[in-house]
């Protein structure tokens, strides 16, 4: 009966610290199996569970233990940052009270008293399990949110903590969202915060996974806008990569303009391919090839430099091998021209080919 005299606050802190320790222990576990995590503590604590007069709190904790994580003297609890598959809980906790840390044993008992540990562990497990669920896209958002929240940690803003439990997403992940900028509750305002929280949370949070997402200050915190925001951040990240590829896109800021440039570029590349393949086909024309019709050619002749239409046109393949200096300069039939051997050797020679011609062909370069 150690924790009879512990206040609600201390119990919460203790519980949270326990959760944190759990998470830290399981940090590097690749398989997040909530059942495993559940089994251990429940064995330990099962016998300790007994009724508590603070039913209201207990119910709260059962359903939303996270509520207390941010609203008391633990203001530094940011969201969990999902870093790929690594789960790094925010360790920057200012517990403030040294007594909390000094009584590890009592934590367990407290935890058993205040809620079913199973739930608590499941929560912790869920938090970790979240990582294995495919919210990889959220990591940017969450990281950013976490950073921005950490920056505001030292604000002395004291606004009420609002906890909004979001609806289920398509893949049945429930998001519990806290707005950390408002999470500076202390002492007496705790209970009122609790009640307000109670009003805002959804009634039933069955054993599903949780994604802890931090909303930025002044932004909507429901799941739809959060996932939408995560998606947008992903897209803008990728657009930045594209910006480096497409020439002349450094100045363009918006997505629409970028898309326009990308479209133009891809279209120009594709038309270049068409043009070049036509040119190559023209080069390949042999003098005795009378199959070309008079109508087709004039359309293309204008675009080709006059030199290409010289009558002493070798086969294109043969011409290429000549450039690679592999095959003696005789015009062989195209079927016989490319031997497998040539191909193998061509690779060795291609690199010097590229290097040698890079200077010459710089002016051909497309920019």
């Amino acid at each position: 009966m150690f924790c009879m005299d512990m206040t609600v606050l201390e119990r919460q802190q203790a519980r949270f610290k326990w959760l944190l320790q759990q998470q830290q222990e399981n940090n590097h576990v690749s398989q997040y199996d909530p059942l495993e995590l559940c089994s251990v503590p429940t064995d330990l604590f099962h016998g300790f569970f007994d009724h508590e007069s603070m039913n209201g709190d207990r119910i709260d904790w059962k359903k939303q233990p996270e509520i207390y994580l941010g609203n008391n003297d633990l203001p530094n609890y940011g969201g969990f940052s999902l870093n790929g598959t690594e789960f790094v809980a925010s360790n920057k906790m200012d517990f403030g009270e040294s007594e909390v840390t000094a009584r590890p044993l009592e934590f367990d008992h407290c935890l058993s008293r205040t809620s079913s540990c199973q739930t608590g562990v499941v929560e912790a497990a869920k938090i970790e399990r979240v990582v294995s669920v495919n919210v990889a896209g959220e990591d940017v958002t969450l990281m950013e949110n976490k950073e921005s929240n950490l920056g505001r940690r030292d604000n002395s803003n004291k606004r009420k903590a609002e906890f909004i439990a979001a609806e289920e997403c398509d893949d049945k992940i429930q998001e519990v969202v806290e707005d950390e900028s408002k999470a500076k509750e202390k002492g007496s305002t705790e209970i009122s915060a609790d009640s307000s929280m109670e009003n805002q949370k959804t009634p039933a949070l069955p054993n599903t996974d949780y994604i802890h997402v931090r909303a930025r200050r002044g932004q909507a915190t429901d799941s739809h806008s959060l996932s939408e925001r995560a998606r947008r951040e992903k897209i803008s990240k990728k657009m930045k990569c594209l910006q480096d590829l497409v020439p002349g896109c450094n100045k363009i800021a918006g997505r629409a303009g970028m898309l326009d440039e990308i479209i133009n570029y891809v279209q120009s590349l594709q038309s270049q391919v068409e043009f070049l393949s036509m040119k190559i086909a023209a080069v390949n024309r042999t003098p005795d090839n009378v199959n070309f019709s008079g109508e087709e050619l004039p359309a293309y002749i204008g675009s080709f430099p006059a030199a290409t239409m010289s009558s002493t046109i070798a086969n294109f393949p043969a011409a290429l091998t000549d450039t690679f200096q592999l095959v003696p300069e005789k015009v062989t039939s195209s079927s016989a021209f490319i031997h497998g051997v040539c191909l193998d050797h061509s690779l060795d020679h291609v690199r010097p080919f590229w290097d040698a011609d890079s200077q010459n062909l710089q002016n051909l370069g497309f920019h």
Binding site: S277, I280, S293, T308, S310, P317
Partner: protein, 187 residues
């Protein structure tokens, strides 16, 4: 960053030459347009084979090419070791695409149009820009092979990869053209 790009180019060139070889003796009898088509086709399939199976656009190109005889031959020739796997992948892709298309049609039919009330300027501007972006993504989807079946995020990734490959293709083709004309003029 010369090395990876030139590796890609070498691979492409090799496969392209292999593809051209397939046309071999028929080259003499082809019209210029047919020749051009053959060249372009083998270039495209060669390009797709450098990314064999890993990207959506390459699978789309191979799937499209396998529909007619010429393409089939080329695909078999160029991708002989992996052709079986890729054929399955591309047929699977066709099925998946149909499914995606049906889902999208369903989604659109069920989508409720939101009524725009007396919107402020900001909101209006936002909706306009959203429409523009949407329209342009549609255009981009039509450009990138196999793009109609991708969502926004993977579309951008595919575009990225496709652009890199296209650039390499253009580079190789231009250089080989230059060299060929050089040789031709030299003679």
């Amino acid at each position: 960053m010369r090395a990876p790009r030139s590796v890609l180019k070498q691979q492409f060139l090799k496969k392209w030459m292999m593809g051209l070889q397939v046309f071999g003796s028929a080259k003499q009898s082809m019209s210029i347009l047919e020749r051009k088509k053959a060249i372009k086709l083998s270039a495209d399939i060669a390009l797709a084979s450098t990314r064999a199976g890993r990207t959506c656009w390459s699978r789309a190109i191979i799937a499209d090419a396998s529909k007619d005889d010429d393409g089939k031959v080329l695909v078999q020739h160029l991708l002989s070791p992996e052709s079986e796997r890729l054929k399955k992948a591309s047929t699977g892709l066709a099925m998946e695409n149909k499914r995606v298309r049906c889902k999208k049609i369903l989604k659109r039919s069920c989508c409720i149009k939101r009524v725009r009330k007396g919107a402020s300027k900001v909101v209006l501007a936002k909706s306009i820009s959203k429409r523009i972006v949407k329209r342009r993504t549609q255009v981009l989807k039509s450009l990138v092979p196999g793009g109609e079946f991708m969502d926004d995020i993977s579309l951008i990734e595919e575009t990225l990869d496709y652009m890199v490959s296209l650039r390499a293709q253009v580079d190789v083709m231009r250089r080989s053209l230059a060299k060929a004309t050089e040789v031709v003029n030299g003679k």
